[in-house]
């Protein structure tokens, strides 16, 4: 007689419960939820879709329903890394040396706004809130970087085009380069046991020069392959994506900061491809896919703890950052021949802070899990707030200057 147990044995082909959530399931779910969040938020006037992606992530994360926690997120790490890398590659491509040569004011503006941000945020955290100088310095460095993902995505959503959009992109590119460089240089200082001068120089030097060299080597290889495949759009697309992924892989193997390598790769493609072997590619749909993923995951990782426990520090951090960036841009507005409206819009456009900052915070906590929790909480809270209000500021900047082709109306972007 056939027992129930033997029946069940025969059903081994059936799924086992509880179901194991695999990476692809999570990837798909994140994308679809993000998409829904983005669409829903657009019905609110003046809210960019980014806020919807982030809100969905936050709701699903530990701060909300706790469906997606750190363990679950680890499974999507590879996709997040690719997203961030593509953004950094794109950011590097926005850095045109020719423009910097022809308009010296740009570099001066960027250095000034970055330096002012560094000094003001450092002063607030170190002198006013008594944080350790290394913590204050790291937080101030993170504050320099404007979120490239937000600026790019808002510009893309609004189909913004014009002098403010282009300047926002190159200044974002420059301040990210400055922030990444400083971050790599000072990261060893956050070690529990302070490094010797030799270790410090060796470690910082290896990571900085190594990541630059890696970016350049991959660029040279990309150009050689480009020569081989010719100017076929489809093949060149695969070439660039392949090079980006290869760079991430190499950076992991060599323990180098992949963000810098990717930025350098993009920068080299823009400025050192003298024979124009590589085509100017628009990542379009692919970029959107990864952008949504990145913002939803950013939402999951949002930590608002600092907002309640150090609200004054967070508030001052935000204020001095905005003022520093605005002053930096205003100081050179006349020599850059920008109108008053353009100057204010550019200052607003540079306000967001998200993906790269979060990436740096993650590196920091990976590097030294015991690093000042208070600093991380403050930075996380600032990132959380700027994830929400940053895209609105950037959107306002592009709309008031008339550079947004899509108009913002009730019911979303048209």
């Amino acid at each position: 007689m056939i027992t129930i147990a033997s029946h069940l044995e025969n059903l081994a082909f059936m799924p086992h419960f509880p179901l194991h959530l695999n990476s692809l399931f999570l990837f798909g779910t994140i994308l679809l939820l993000g998409l829904i969040g983005g669409e829903v938020i657009k019905y609110g006037r003046y809210f960019p879709s980014i806020i919807g992606f982030i809100a969905i992530g936050y709701l699903a994360g530990p701060g909300g329903l706790d469906i997606a926690n750190k363990t679950v997120l680890a499974n999507t790490r590879i996709f997040v890394d690719i997203s961030l890398s593509l953004i950094l590659f794109e950011l590097g491509r926005n850095l045109s040396f020719a423009w910097l040569r022809n308009d010296r004011g740009l570099l001066a503006t960027s250095i000034t706004e970055s330096l002012l941000t560094l000094l003001s945020v450092f002063s607030v955290l170190y002198f006013v809130f008594d944080l350790a100088w290394t913590s204050s310095l790291i937080a101030a460095i993170i504050a320099i970087a404007t979120s490239p993902a937000i600026v790019m995505m808002v510009a893309n959503d609004l189909r913004a085009e014009g002098p403010v959009t282009r300047r926002a992109l190159i200044l974002t590119s420059l301040n990210n380069l400055i922030a990444l460089t400083l971050f790599i240089l000072v990261l060893p200082l956050t070690e529990k046991i302070p490094p010797t001068a030799f270790t410090f120089i060796l470690y910082s030097g290896y990571r900085l020069l190594g990541s630059i060299l890696l970016g350049l080597l991959v660029f040279l290889a990309t150009v050689q392959i480009g020569k081989l495949i010719g100017k076929e759009k489809e093949s060149q697309f695969v070439l660039i994506v392949g090079s980006v992924v290869l760079t991430i892989g190499c950076a992991y193997m060599l323990k180098l900061p992949s963000m810098m390598s990717l930025f350098i790769l993009g920068m080299a493609v823009r400025n050192f491809d003298y024979k124009h072997i590589l085509m100017e590619l628009d990542f379009g749909w692919l970029a959107r896919l990864f952008f949504i993923l990145l913002f939803v995951v950013t939402g999951v990782q949002l930590n608002l703890k600092g907002l309640w426990e150090a609200s004054l520090a967070v508030g001052l951090f935000l204020l001095v950052r905005l003022v520093a960036k605005t002053v930096g841009i205003c100081l050179f507005a006349k020599s850059n021949r920008m109108t008053q409206k353009q100057t204010i819009a550019l200052s607003l456009a540079l306000f967001p802070m998200a993906g790269v900052a979060l990436g740096m915070s993650n590196i920091l906590s990976d590097f030294n899990p015991e690093f000042s929790q208070r600093t991380l909480e403050i930075v996380s809270a600032v990132i959380a707030i700027l994830n929400i209000i940053g895209p609105i500021f950037t959107q306002i900047a592009f709309v008031v200057t008339g550079e947004a082709l899509a108009t913002v109306k009730q019911g979303g972007i048209e």
Binding site: S96, A98, W99, R101, N102, K231, M279, E403
Partner: protein, 376 residues
């Protein structure tokens, strides 16, 4: 009563309007920055020298009135240098060419002023499709009758200018197989084509009044004819040419028209309405085949290859070139005709070696500023 007074100007003086492309130096697509770029330019250049055009990716350069080819060329070079240097500072590219090879017309934005907004309202999608770039040449006329005579007498030479100036082989990302694909866009407008058969200014005034009364036009600007009188300047205005890739070529074309007008008015032959029988066919063939077009001559009942007819025309103008001090310009034109070279040929050759249209536009921007140190 003169409802449309024709302002007298010194005969055979010349002036040029050049519609130029504003290009993004990363994608080499058109960039929508005319508004801001003009603001910057006007801080350095006389306001009348630069003007907006229908969409945000276009600007128009205007020369002063000149008595000679040499002074026109000098001014155009100065304007080119100023505009190019200013463009470099704000990191956009400038180039000639009758069409941008791969811009998408639906992505263009109408320039935000009353006139262009009205045009957009009136013509709908045609206004954005009007993102094409032409050279307009003005020749001074002593009176309106001369201007009307030239409007008709020059009709025979419209194909010649089309072939010489052609620089728009690519449109919306494809090779159109035309030498000049820009004309097809202009033909869509109801007030394009040729001026009415009026041989005196008085007749033209009557025609114009009627058109005003019927509210078909609001001003002379509403006529998009290939050639038209311009009473407020006291000129006849040829509007058929694509913007050439260089200012040197633009000045040569202006000198060529100046010579033709000089010859036509000094050897005034009667014009007949028959001149318009093959007009559209000849115009089409010149746009399609360039120098290879077979032109129909309604008076002689013959057909002639455009390249050969052009050469013959040049030879016929040689005697007048010295009077107008434009022998150099005529020689350059003649050389181009003998080699059968125009800007369309140059663009196609670049595409055949570079394989992408964005690389072709990069070359165009460098060619435009070839005598200026360019940072690409």
């Amino acid at each position: 009563m003169n409802s449309l007074p024709f302002l007298t100007s010194k005969p055979f003086t010349l002036g040029v309007e050049l519609e130029l492309q504003l290009v993004n130096l990363q994608s080499f697509n058109l960039t929508m920055e005319a508004d801001d770029f003009l603001r910057r330019l006007k801080e350095k250049i006389n306001e009348a020298s630069v003007k907006p055009e229908i969409t945000q990716s276009m600007i128009e350069l205007n020369s002063q009135v000149h008595t000679s080819y040499a002074s026109l060329l000098t001014e155009l070079r100065e304007l080119r240098n100023l505009v190019t240097e200013e463009a470099q500072q704000t990191h956009i590219g400038i180039c000639g060419g009758g069409m941008h090879p791969f811009q998408k017309w639906k992505q263009q934005r109408i320039f935000p002023n009353e006139r262009f907004m009205n045009v957009s309202e009136q013509y709908g999608y045609l206004a954005k499709q009007f993102t094409v770039f032409g050279q307009h040449i003005h020749i001074g006329c002593a009176n309106g009758d001369d201007a009307m005579y030239l409007c008709h007498a020059l009709a025979r030479y419209i194909p010649h200018f089309i072939a010489l100036a052609a620089s728009s082989p690519f449109n919306q990302g494809v090779d159109t197989s035309f030498n000049c694909s820009r004309l097809a866009v202009i033909s869509a407008f109801p007030l394009s084509g040729t001026p009415p058969w009026c041989l005196t200014w008085r007749d033209f005034e009557k025609y114009y009044d009627r058109m005003l009364q019927l509210e078909i036009v609001g001003s002379m600007k509403d006529f998009y004819w290939d050639i038209r009188p311009k009473p407020e300047f006291g000129t006849v205005e040829l509007r058929i040419c694509d913007t050439p890739l260089t200012v040197e070529k633009a000045a040569q074309l202006a000198a060529f028209l100046q010579l033709l007008c000089y010859k036509l008015l000094n050897n005034r032959q009667p014009v007949t309405r028959d001149i318009y029988l093959p007009y559209l066919t000849n115009r089409f063939r010149a746009a399609r085949y360039g120098f290879d077009a077979m032109l129909i001559d309604p008076e002689r009942h013959t057909k002639a290859r455009l390249g050969e007819d052009l050469l013959e025309t040049c030879i016929g103008l040689q005697a007048y070139a010295q009077d107008l001090h434009c022998t150099d310009a005529l020689e350059s034109i003649k050389e181009a005709i003998m080699k059968e070279e125009n800007d369309t040929g140059w663009l196609r050759e670049k595409f055949s070696t570079l394989h992408t249209l964005s690389d072709v536009v990069r070359e165009q921007t460098q060619y435009w500023g070839q005598n200026i140190k360019m940072a690409s």
